[in-house]
């Protein structure tokens, strides 16, 4: 038994190291002077420099894509969780014909490969003059994020006993009020997990962001980083620094809410 435990620990350590190493290399690389990067890139730079980060914000105005990403991912998350939770609540509770079919269709919508709908979406957005605008990104993101959010939340709401909101309604709350005062507080872990998954998806999304924006005014972080590449060279130091800046908020978010996410994703596995 003890031997097996030790093996398990070893495997886990190896996995974590393997997963963390690229991230470590990115951090180290972002602190390495440009010249050293092409001379075999040391494991840890001596001395570490902040010139890439300085260049990122001083020369490249990297705060612009960060702002755009925050706006787009934030708005997508907000709409997704609010509208999605109302929709999921209805699907979880109301009895009507064709519910299973409706749930299936909702999920099917998010199954289309992105690349297949980029062109039609572009034409659609152009015809309503939403190219290179925030709504031009938020709306397409919602079409992908919302079905998954609805599915996650339907599963979550279903496990909350219906008697709780019935009690609230008999107690004098309307359906919406019962939802807000009783269901939402109890579904917080599920809502948090959904919010984070949506935010991470929107934050990292590349294809739509590249296709539906025209210039730095609306480009998001992944697009901005991809466009660092010049005609003759790739500024690897800055790319790595930008990657760190882009990853940090998401990683922080996940770490802070880690327990909630796990609770949310495994909800229903064990009766609590």
């Amino acid at each position: 038994m003890r031997g097996r435990d030790r093996w398990a620990t070893l495997v886990i350590v190896a996995l974590v190291l393997g997963a963390a190493f690229p991230f470590y290399r990115a951090v180290a690389g972002s602190l390495t002077p440009e010249a050293q990067l092409f001379e075999g890139a040391p494991l840890w730079p001596s001395p570490p420099v902040l010139e890439h980060y300085r260049a990122l914000f001083a020369e490249r105005e990297f705060w612009l894509p960060i702002r755009n990403s925050l706006v787009v991912a934030g708005a997508t998350t907000l709409f997704c969780v609010t509208i999605g939770s109302l929709c999921a609540y209805a699907l979880a509770r109301l009895r009507f014909r064709g519910k299973a079919l409706l749930l299936g269709v909702i999920l099917a919508v998010s199954m289309f490969p992105q690349i297949a709908i980029v062109s039609p979406l572009f034409l659609l957005l152009r015809s309503v003059r939403l190219i290179d605008t925030y709504p031009g990104l938020i709306l397409p993101y919602l079409t992908f994020a919302m079905p998954l959010a609805v599915w996650l939340l339907v599963g979550y709401f279903r496990q909350l006993p219906a008697e709780l909101e019935e009690a609230a309604m008999v107690d004098g709350a309307g359906r919406l009020r019962a939802f807000r005062e009783v269901i939402v507080p109890l579904a917080l872990p599920g809502l948090a997990a959904t919010a984070i998954l949506t935010f991470v998806y929107s934050w990292n999304e590349f294809l739509f962001a590249l296709s539906f924006t025209l210039g730095p005014e609306r480009q998001t972080v992944p697009v901005a980083i991809a466009l660092f590449r010049g005609q003759y060279q790739v500024p690897w130091g800055q790319v790595l620094a930008a990657a760190i800046v882009a990853t940090a908020p998401v990683a922080a978010l996940v770490l802070v809410f880690q327990r909630r996410i796990v609770q949310g994703l495994t909800a229903g596995a064990v009766k609590g």
Partner: protein
């Protein structure tokens, strides 16, 4: 306070299940009405339609003089105690009790006073700051009760509120509910599958079966004069014995001529064990169960035990053992006769 009336109420669920088939029921102001029946008989559905949690497919629900058929629960001024208690797990006991008043826009000072009052009446003062998860089963039950009481509603609805308690606590709470009803003199509707609970608590009892009310009446009347075979066997424990009426061939019960088209019902308490050949019928003893204050004896009719099974309650000190042949004497005043095909009561 208010009366409640269900008028020809039907309920068909989307899956096709019919839970109420033209239920007609009037519950008087201040009455403790118990709906009792086996699971799936529609008693909970009837209660939920009074609460407004289900909408009837046809028929009317009246509370007082108001037609509430189409009103949502929050506009009916009813309070309900759920089987699972349905306490809000994220709120303290105090907030649980205050929730209904808060939803109805009561002033904070008034809320505080009424919550304190209810907590004192139910012995919950010391746990007001706790959450439901930190309470015992009995305490949770009290909080659920308190949540209904603070509201001072027109009507109290109970959906099997005692079924999650252990036997001892159930008896205590049952007595407490009876006291509560006497003190508040409120209209209460109580759903249970336990016929004993129904008989002890109800001012009147409605026995339900397959979405219909079989009989409504005071507990003693339902027990003494069951309207149908179903009520006869459902109410009373151990259940009434049913025999083809011709087992008493040549000795028509009560002196009236019932043919073979009748079923005879006789409660185990209404049969006396006498020496063989000196009673109405002879029977062979099968099993003897001592129950403390009495014996429950299972017998088979006929000297060789070839007839139908019959249950008899006897005094605890009766000398009786399996394979004895004994005589049975039926109490002629307490025989029930039912039409064999319809199950309806015949005669008085």
């Amino acid at each position: 306070m208010a009366s409640i009336r269900l008028e020809k109420v039907w309920k068909t669920y989307p899956n096709g299940h019919i839970a109420a088939r033209g239920v007609d029921l009037t519950i008087a102001d201040g009455e403790f009405m118990v709906l009792v029946g086996p699971s799936g008989c529609g008693k909970s559905t009837a209660l939920r339609m009074i609460a407004g949690l289900e909408t009837p497919s046809a028929g009317r629900v009246m509370i007082g003089d108001r037609d509430v058929t189409a009103l949502p629960p929050q506009e009916r001024d009813v309070a309900m105690v759920f089987q699972s208690y349905a306490l809000y797990p994220h709120m303290t006991v105090r907030d649980n009790l205050a929730f209904g008043l808060r939803m109805r826009g009561a002033a904070p000072a008034a809320i505080a006073a009424r919550v304190e009052g209810a907590a004192r009446a139910l012995g919950l003062e010391s746990v007001l700051g706790r959450k439901p998860g930190q309470l015992s089963g009995g305490q949770r039950q009290r909080v659920a009760l308190g949540r209904a009481i603070v509201r001072e509603p027109l009507v109290f609805l109970f959906d099997e509120p005692l079924s999650n308690l252990d036997a001892k606590l159930r008896l205590e709470t049952r007595a407490e509910l009876a006291r509560l009803h006497r003190r508040l003199a409120a209209t209460m509707v109580y759903v249970t599958h336990d016929q004993e609970e129904a008989l002890t608590l109800g001012s009147r009892v409605a026995v339900m079966r397959e979405g219909q009310v079989e009989q409504v009446g005071p507990p003693l009347e339902v027990y003494r004069r069951p309207a149908t075979v179903f009520v006869a066997t459902f109410v009373g424990s151990p259940a009434m014995n049913l025999l083809p009426a011709d087992v008493l061939a040549g000795q028509p019960p009560g002196g009236s001529p019932f043919g073979a088209a009748a079923t005879l019902g006789v409660r185990p308490h209404d049969i006396a064990v006498v020496p063989a050949a000196s009673g109405d019928l002879d029977a062979l003893v099968d099993v003897v169960e001592p129950r403390g204050s009495e014996l429950l004896v299972y017998l088979r009719l006929g000297r060789s035990g070839g007839g139908p099974e019959i249950r008899v309650i006897t005094p605890p000190d009766l000398e009786i053992a399996p394979d004895d042949v004994v005589g049975l004497r039926f109490d002629r005043e307490r025989l029930h006769v039912f039409e064999r095909d319809t199950g309806q009561r015949l005669g008085s």
